[in-house]
């Protein structure tokens, strides 16, 4: 078990000294279609479900693992999940033990920037002073409590750095071109063994692929787990993505009303797909901070090779191969 400076997670919601402080909300992004690993999930489950709805390890899906992880730090009634409409049935079935009032339903997948703005507006209507923590639903995290301890620490850094958006950065073990990269700059703060660093460079899946350069510069992988004040996120979206912002003004007034479905349909018909990392975060590196994650095995299951790599690491690869059938072989990274 890797060593970590974190001893116990879950202190944010029980800290009596924080009464009156902004409340922490969680946003789970589950609107993706999982196209890149569809072949693998189809063979595993016999359906075309995106990977966040699939149980690859154990009986819980990646989405259920994510909810469980997030709920160790954030109360369930403050966890908002964004899904895409054609997966509503799967989400609904997997949400049986969760408050479904927090489910936001996009008519279609327009990637992560609209997928974030939608829940931000929904949370603003209920708690405009909120702090939000954002979690993709298709990432593998082995030491979950240690990882969530980093999220708690990132939130604490906001006390002295309220205008920052703070990302969790994953120390890389290879010059991976398929991840976004964050090159940290000077240290801004340190507490309890955690460091908060400025972001010198932020590059989402660099093209041409220059992962080796970032690797040698001490870069970190972008986990896309980020925290910040609600109003900070909204201000940057308004400034950097004004057309998306303008389109969503009608959405903001319709959320929670009988016109929600129709207004969302109209908005999603006209907005292009926009990636949160490439279209927003990459444009505002000076407003970002990064907390390097220690003692956690993390993996974005964006391709089949990474899935097998993780399962090999935790001793589950043979089990998965057995489920796939005797003809299955470990895929190469290129083949995935």
């Amino acid at each position: 078990m890797p060593r970590s400076p974190i001893k116990r997670p879950g202190t944010l919601r029980s800290d009596p000294g924080r009464q009156g402080a902004p409340r922490l909300w969680g946003i789970v992004l589950a609107g993706g279609d999982g196209r890149r690993v569809r072949y693998l999930m189809r063979r595993l489950t016999g359906t075309d479900l995106p990977k966040q709805y699939c149980a690859v390890i154990g009986r819980r899906s990646m989405l259920q693992h994510t909810w469980g992880r997030v709920a160790t730090v954030i109360p369930r009634d403050r966890i908002v999940t964004v899904i895409t409409r054609h997966h509503l049935d799967q989400a609904w079935a997997q949400l049986q033990e969760w408050p479904t009032e927090q489910l936001l339903i996009q008519p279609s997948n327009r990637e992560t920037a609209p997928g974030l703005l939608l829940p931000l507006l929904a949370i603003r209507a209920r708690d405009p002073r909120a702090i939000v923590a954002i979690f993709p639903s298709d990432h593998f995290v082995e030491e979950e409590s240690v990882f969530m301890g980093h999220v708690e620490q990132a939130v604490r850094f906001l006390v002295d750095h309220p205008s920052l958006i703070v990302l969790l950065g994953i120390p890389p073990d290879r010059p991976e071109n398929g991840y976004g990269w964050i090159v940290p700059g000077e240290e801004m703060a340190r507490r309890a063994g955690f460091g908060l660093f400025r972001v010198r460079r932020f590059s989402e899946k660099p093209d041409p692929p220059v992962g080796e350069q970032f690797f040698l510069q001490g870069g970190l992988w972008n986990s896309l787990v980020l925290v910040g004040r609600l109003d900070t996120f909204l201000r940057h979206i308004e400034e950097v993505l004004p057309e998306l912002w303008a389109t969503f003004q009608a959405v903001a007034s319709a959320l929670g009303t009988v016109t929600e479905a129709r207004v969302l349909e109209e908005a999603y018909r006209v907005i292009p797909a926009m990636n949160l990392s490439a279209h927003l975060l990459q444009q505002i590196p000076h407003h970002l901070g990064v907390v390097p994650v220690k003692g956690v095995h993390w993996c974005d299951w964006g391709d089949g090779a990474r899935v097998f790599e993780t399962l090999t690491r935790i001793g589950k690869a043979e089990e998965l191969l057995a489920r796939l059938g005797n003809s299955a072989r470990l895929p190469s990274r290129e083949a995935a």
Binding site: T47, W92, I105, E260
Partner: protein, 72 residues
């Protein structure tokens, strides 16, 4: 017929007001205001629109009711 096939067909072909009713049911807001259409009304509308046959409507209600106990 699998439940998710029926559900997907319903959600993709239904007009916005029926979709809104489905969202309401899924989020169970009707527990609060009691005004949201029931699954029977939603499926009845879908049947009227030609989205479901009588048999499919019955199957869908059965599957939804089995799962949640709130088909009515």
């Amino acid at each position: 017929m699998k439940r998710h096939d029926l559900f997907r067909r319903l959600i993709s072909r239904a007009p916005p007001d029926v979709v809104a009713a489905i969202y309401e049911r899924v989020r169970r807001r009707d527990r609060v205001n009691g005004e949201s259409p029931s699954w029977q009304e939603i499926v009845g509308a879908a049947q009227g629109l030609g989205i479901f046959t009588t048999e499919e409507a019955s199957t869908f209600l059965h599957l939804v009711g089995d799962r949640l106990g709130d088909a009515a």
